[in-house]
Assembly symmetry: C2
Homo-oligomer: 273 residues x 2
């Protein structure tokens, strides 16, 4: 199903370890080329001027050849031609957290936004944490209620960056009780795989749509392909959504999920568990 | 930008002429192969058992080789293997109006839904009116307020069928005063082209993303690619959205819009106007 040739996505559920082994950030660093890595950190999702600095220091400490923070916080600057050159050289791009609507609202369709997508198609690895994770799909969650019964009114969606097909991401997943909102997304269109990522946990997606779980929590996969009944079109905005025959997977570190084939795979070697 | 090899989309703003010249329906009939046309009408969006019958009669009167109504109104039946064979033979598929959430909720990811998308990739023409139009894009509008100031709370979006990339459709456009909600969509991600289609008006999209307007009304194109500022991420749900440097086109019959290049084209010959 995927037309991607190369490039990986590292989709992080937020609050990833930044002081210990940094398993998730280290995997991104490795995928970006280790000591040859040229990394750009995009702090667009955040309104804090210093957002991105901590990541810059971490990747420099790991030994990356070059790390820069692109503090792009308004749409006015995103059409500068220089961004084509900058992104042509990056091997890794990292989106900080904040608000996913800042990412699409500021970058969507701009010279920078398009250069970023070209980078990915060319093979660069794109990582995002929290809001940076949410923005990666074609249609993204922009907000919703936590710890809530699934209903149409508890979620809000919008067009995302389009790097990930067939799926919608949710983050801070177990920590904020978000299964209700992910089920609501899948009810809207059971073709979509809902991917709920816990804090300090990530999904690494390769060019063929194979997803691998890393980090200390779990990833919840909500697959609606076999749904036989839902009341999504009849229910009012605040009525509970009913949905039968959802397939659910809870995957920990080392487990994989084949997105085009919709198959969960257990770890092949014991030390992966 | 488009990966489509063939197939046309006929995206109709609702309330198309069914008794006079039937310009729009006739164009669909022609694209489907005229006297060799094998047409399936999908009335999934509607809850009326007779929805689709009038279209069946119209296409039979035009001379189509075969016209059937697929009255698929619950998800339970959409996984029957027969739909693969049925859709392998169709040259045209027509979605009636109703509720776009019924289309994605019932068909999304099912055997029927996937067979339909294969049909399109193979070259079949897919038409949809009103709700059938709205469902065609990757992210679709599922509802919103008419005659309203753009704000986040006036619209609701969800993942659509994904036949049309880079765009979101709105229908009954001038008749229901929907420019506010289309601007709100584009504010969420200026990469998206908002296409507002009046009643008795359609956009025909070819495999390369070139759009042609047919019918008696106009098509409004909202292009956010040059937007220099928006307040979409700072504004609360009910606050008015601000958006600067939107490019707008109002296109009548015979005008074209090149979606990948974002260029409006005037009619080349006088009789087209």
């Amino acid at each position: 199903m995927s037309e991607k040739k190369s490039g990986h996505l590292v989709i992080i559920g937020g609050a990833e370890d930044k002081e210990g082994e940094c398993q998730i950030l280290r995997r991104f660093f490795q995928l970006a080329g280790e000591r040859e890595a040229k990394i750009a950190i995009l702090s667009t999702a955040s309104t804090e001027p210093q957002a991105g600095e901590q990541y810059r220091q971490i990747f420099l400490d790991m030994g990356a050849a070059e790390v820069k923070v692109l503090a792009v916080h308004s749409r006015e600057v995103t059409n500068q031609a220089q961004y084509r050159e900058i992104f042509a050289k990056q091997s890794g791009i990292f989106f900080t957290g904040g608000d996913q609507l800042r990412i699409t609202g500021i970058l969507g369709g701009s010279v920078l936004g398009k250069a970023l997508i070209s980078s990915y198609r060319r093979g660069a690895v794109i990582a995002g944490t929290s809001a940076g994770a949410a923005a990666m799909s074609e249609t993204m969650l922009v907000g919703g209620a936590d710890d809530a019964t699934p209903s149409k009114e508890i979620i809000r969606m919008a067009p995302g960056l389009g790097l990930l097909r067939e799926a919608v991401i949710d983050q801070h997943f177990a920590q904020r009780g978000r299964i209700g909102r992910l089920l609501a997304v899948v009810a809207h269109n059971p073709y979509i795989v809902g991917i709920g990522i816990d804090e300090d946990t990530a999904v690494i997606v390769d060019g063929a749509g194979r997803c691998e779980v890393v980090g200390s929590g779990t990833v919840t996969i909500v697959d609606g392909l076999e749904v036989t009944h839902s009341n999504v079109s009849e229910s009012s905005l605040d009525q509970p959504l009913a949905l039968t025959n959802v397939r659910l997977h809870i995957l920990a570190k080392g487990y994989k999920y084949n997105l085009p084939k919709r198959i969960a795979e257990t770890p092949q070697t014991k030390e992966d568990i």
